[in-house]
Symmetry: C2
Subunit: 274 residues, 2 copies
Amino acid sequence: MRSSSYLFIALLIGIFIGAGGALLISGSTYPDHVSPDREIIFQVSTIDALLESVYDGVMPVSELTRYGDLGIGTFDSLDGELIMVDGVVYQARADGSVVVAAHNLKVPLAAVTFFDEDIIIPDLSTRGFAEFEDSIGGAIRSENLKYAIRIDGTFPEVTVRAPHGQERPYPRLVDALADQYMATHTNITGTAVGFLLPEYVGGLNVPGYHLHFISDDLSVGGHIVDFSLDSATVSLDETLTFMMRLPSEGGFIDADLTRDLSDELAFVERPGQD
Amino acid sequence: MRSSSYLFIALLIGIFIGAGGALLISGSTYPDHVSPDREIIFQVSTIDALLESVYDGVMPVSELTRYGDLGIGTFDSLDGELIMVDGVVYQARADGSVVVAAHNLKVPLAAVTFFDEDIIIPDLSTRGFAEFEDSIGGAIRSENLKYAIRIDGTFPEVTVRAPHGQERPYPRLVDALADQYMATHTNITGTAVGFLLPEYVGGLNVPGYHLHFISDDLSVGGHIVDFSLDSATVSLDETLTFMMRLPSEGGFIDADLTRDLSDELAFVERPGQD
């Protein structure tokens, strides 16, 4: 082999090393200038669209996981509650079962983020959702910012629910939830994930607290209606950037999204409490 | 020089070529999986914060231009209207002047996008904002989606305004605008840019139409109160993703953002018309 060939091979090797290194640096989910620290809450569709019976899945689970490792949502046709913990997406269904969601299952609504704890409240014991809210309210620096929440520990009591998959023509959410699964579990260890969002997200997402639960043994999960904590660890991720992807097809396009559905939302999120 | 040195130099050159090429491919403002076609409306802060007198600039013009080449907004202390056209940021001030905004000037509120026309309405003549709205309303496929707007051509009449920079303690927006600059110009050629947004963005941004104007000779600019068109070209960019960066400091943190300010917004946006 001539020495010019060696030069050419060295050049090629260099190109591969350079390209690989550059892509390694720039290949994070979001580029540095968009979010140096993954501080984006990414959302698919809007809560008002779900209230208006837009249950068409528009983004597969495999794509959703590119935007975060923790979050909540639901599935195509409203078939259960979505719980994303440590990058794994679980589906809590109305028969009480919990499964790892299929990668090609699509979500009509979800909100996720890459969770990096900014605030830790260790050893928190609370009775009921309201007492939990009081504890967190004193720990955050502004009700105008957005927080992802993660709770790990023992739940002396947790009431979860999960909706049945719906048949077309889809009923409105308030009607679809009438016969949903609901169960209260006691002394169960697990993780709750979700968000604390400002009032002004109304129409887009759920203002206030919105949490989903999954037990450590993966046997119990769903949307949290109420809960208590015994020496649990609560972590908060203050997140300044919000990103919302609207559906480009399906029921979203023609839904009536002009009405104020805040009362209906309060009822479906935590019946009897708001 | 020994041949091993040549090999080493060839390797180094290769690394540079490879790294440069890879960064060229991946170095767009947003990575492919976030937006293959730059379809993001990027916003700093919220309209309700501005209504509540949060005029602290939080992002310099030089950073804002990374997120779009067309858009609208205002400047620190409410010092004029921001008009971004073809990547250049103009400042229309209350003395009637228009200047290219300094790169280090910060914005308290702005919305921008990379404009890629999806819909073109050529040769549009309209009298008044309402007639314009009717024309556009028939051209879009859903009132639930978001559209960036660009209008180029002759404006037989355009009424623009621009607020004075404010002194601390900052008055509320509705009061700050009381003595703003306002002027009606006739038979002027120029460009209007802005957005048509769904009802559900209320609190975050301005539902409906929101346009700023700049004349071709750069002598006239501001927030459009009313306008007519003579054979103008209207371009729309349907944009599915919305991204909002909240201020991490300044007046935003402690502002009261829980009130419904929609009536106040309608009054300050287009007094006497809504």
